[in-house]
Amino acid sequence: MLLHDTALIYGRYLRQSLRSRFALLFGVLTPLLYLLFFGPLLTRLPLGGRGTSWQVLVPGLLLQLGLFGALFAGFTIIIEKGQGVVERMRVTPVNRLALLLGRVLRDATVFVFQAVLLVLAALVMGLRAPLAGVLIGFAFVGLLTLSLASVSYALGMKARTPQEFGPLINAVSMPSMLLSGLMLPMSLAPGWLDVLSHLVPFRYLVDAVRDAYVGAYATPHMLYGVLVAVGFAALAVTVGTRVFRTAGA
């Protein structure tokens, strides 16, 4: 039943996304702008890592896409609560985990699609990376989206208004972006900032995807990245499902 219900909810929300093609393409605009207008600035700078500046920047932009897109997913559930759609679904026998999974899998699909567009654009700009590494990058984006969207939906279920939700998400997203080394590797940072950034889980994902983009798969960064991504996903989905089960209870 979990599979049936998840597929049903996933299909409903995927059709909803496909109806707003403009939003689908618009979501990728910010990272594309970074790629076009920020990427060329880095090509002659020593970034301290392996590979070209594109192999450093593109993994960061991919995770930025997931970070910003998925964290704001909870806005939609606040709107749906107002429309009564969430309650209507919660009084049906649909599996509670499926109510969350259907939504977050849709989000992961959308962001992986946007990630593919971004990588295609990056290839035109000069990115060269092994196919396996690129695919690993997509897997990380998918997993990160799933985790962050789960957390965002859980917060959205608790929030009463978008005005309450927005500042909270901004308070999480901006430090996460700055401290995870999305734009530039944290190896360039002074010691204290590098230490601080290790407290941010996204840092491990960024490092892992950067390794993947230079074809280094059996590295400590990759191991930590996988552990953090899987652990965070398990925790986020558990919390999200619990909120869907008990919201208002």
Binding site: L8, R12, R19, G82, G84, V85, R88, V91, P93, T246
Partner: protein
Amino acid sequence: MPAVISTAGLARTFRTKNGPVDAVRCVDLTVQASEILGFLGPNGAGKTTTLRMLTTLLRPTGGAATVAGCDLATDPAGVRRASGYVAQSGGVDPQITVMEELVTQGRMYRLPKARAVARAEELAADLDLTGFLGRKTGALSGGQRRRLDIAMALTHRPEVLFLDEPTTGLDPGSRADLWALVRRLRDEHGTTVFLTTHYLDEADALADRLVIVDAGTVAAEGTPGALKLRYGGSLDATLQDTFLAVTGRRPAPADSAPVAV
């Protein structure tokens, strides 16, 4: 006659910053099969909290209840399979078509796709929505949307239908149509209807029996006639007078925002 809804000492206490609030203190009630029960009370009396508990949206903190033979605490999925719920605010996405919402709803109750489509067409015909199946729900009038809400709640042919202030905001014609529909559900399909409303004329016209709650407990119950006789002094008394005598308050205007308890 078997009780389709039965509660014993049903209670719900909310923890707030200012200490615990007993929204529902002790509600004992039974609703028989094919009965239309009007559940009335002033704002803050515990109507919505009781309804939300009976539809599994809210967990009771005391007492017990069964709906269609399924225990609320141990078999909430059984309660969900047996009941339909029409929330006051409705529950459809304005960007989605009537057909898609109906079919998705049927699928959520595990109908195979072909049956869900057939059921959607059947309900649309029954509720005068056939001409709107391809239309987005946001483009429907208030009355049409209400009929859609009810159609959604009926996709799985529930034994019990919970209606939360179903006619709020409807014009008189749409209200009359909805009353006729509720009666038809009872008479033709044997559906048990649990109805909350602020319109006392609606309760008077529709309900076989009324339960008036106040301060989280049942203050009075009986047929509209019996309540008028007992609290209003005669069968000619209005339900408004009866309500006033029971609760000491006039009912809140139907369009006022109910207290979220």
